[in-house]
């Protein structure tokens, strides 16, 4: 039946270093991005040809969103674009035929288990946690760099000083939980998508003799995974941008609108802190 592991399976070890199949997936995505970037910028022109404008499309779209959020965007627009492209390519690479299905057969506890050779990179919590740690370090560093370490802690304390014993732990935990939420969101989405496609494929092969048109059912879920992979990449990159923008924002003036970031917003509230007053 279906057997999907939560952790990435080790393919081989080099000394003490274990190489898992999700590492292979991440390396493939990186190589694809590097090769594409090298090939397209080899003869880059001011009036781009088709391949160059294909790569410029996501780069300019993400850069446009980052530029619209703050005036100091040059410091971190490369990180946001890099995160977006890496997660996008890693997610979409997991939909190719052969990823998750071509592997080595083992026999574990009597029944056969397939160890895939390549696994989507974000289906491993180590990959998403690594990206989330990068984002966390970057936005804490930006906050400390702009406001000073004392200023950054003062932001965590909050405006009415007598509320500090209540607000300081709340702010601290909400900042630390960004690490957990970023990694868990990406991991949960991609891993659940992989389990979903595996389930649909098993369902299809089980009913293929009864219902020959069941061939097309997994294609719907592949399309769903295409959409969700792109949305999760965009969400990770935009959340990175939002956290850095909130860390470097000046808090005098429109304090009420910028102090409740997106994570304090619930769906019933009718104030949108991140929208521009237009």
């Amino acid at each position: 039946m279906i057997h999907v592991e939560i952790a990435g399976e080790t393919l081989f070890t080099i000394g003490w270093f274990e190489v898992t199949n999700s590492m292979v997936g991440a390396a493939l995505a990186s190589l694809l991005l590097l090769a594409g970037a090298w090939y397209i910028t080899r003869r880059s022109a001011l009036i781009p040809n088709r391949m160059q404008s294909l790569l410029e499309l996501p780069v300019e779209w993400v850069a446009g969103i980052v530029e619209g959020s703050t005036s100091r965007w040059r410091g971190y627009v490369a990180l946001v674009i890099g995160l977006f492209l890496m997660i996008l390519v890693a997610n979409w690479l997991g939909l190719l035929p052969g990823v998750g299905t071509i592997g080595i057969n083992h026999t574990v506890e009597g029944h056969e288990v397939l160890t895939p050779l390549v696994r989507p990179a974000a289906a491993d919590l180590n990959f998403t946690l690594g990206l989330a740690i990068i984002t966390f370090v970057v936005f804490v560093w930006w906050g400390v760099r702009v406001n000073g370490p004392v200023g950054y802690l003062k932001e965590l304390v909050g405006e009415p000083r007598y509320m500090a014993p209540l607000m300081f732990p709340i702010h601290l935990i909400s900042e630390l939980s960004r690490l957990v939420s970023l990694s868990m969101r990406l991991f949960g989405n991609v891993f659940a998508g992989e389990v979903l496609i595996a389930t649909m494929l098993a369902l299809t092969t089980a009913t293929l003799f009864v219902l020959p048109l069941a061939f097309f059912v997994p294609s719907i879920f592949l399309g769903l995974e295409l959409l969700f992979g792109a949305v999760q990449a965009m969400v990770f990159a935009l959340l990175t941008m939002t956290y850095i923008t909130m860390a470097i924002a000046e808090h005098e003036g429109d304090h009420a609108s910028e102090h409740d970031g997106p994570e304090h917003r619930d769906k019933e509230a009718d104030t949108h802190p991140a929208s521009s007053p237009a």
Binding site: I6, M184, F187, A192, V195, V235, L238, T242
Partner: protein
């Protein structure tokens, strides 16, 4: 059997984000209907709000998956 039952019970927590996403989307559609030119300004905060709300449902799913694959 216990871990499967616990995993199924853990997914009851996905009711909340379902309602939240529906309300959020309806508010976004309402705002878009009032002012169709504000689609660009609505889009980025809307996607952010969707992702943050859906993350809660993903937490439930991760707990359920841990219970199935590594629980006893």
């Amino acid at each position: 059997m216990d871990s499967n039952l616990a995993a199924g019970l853990a997914m009851i927590g996905a009711i909340g984000p379902g309602i939240g996403l529906g309300i959020g989307f309806s508010k976004a559609m309402e705002a878009l209907g009032r002012n169709p030119e504000a689609a660009g300004a609505i889009f980025v905060p809307y996607i952010l709000g969707l992702a943050l709300t859906e993350a809660i449902g993903i937490y439930c799913l991760v707990v359920a998956l841990i219970l199935i694959f590594a629980g006893g």
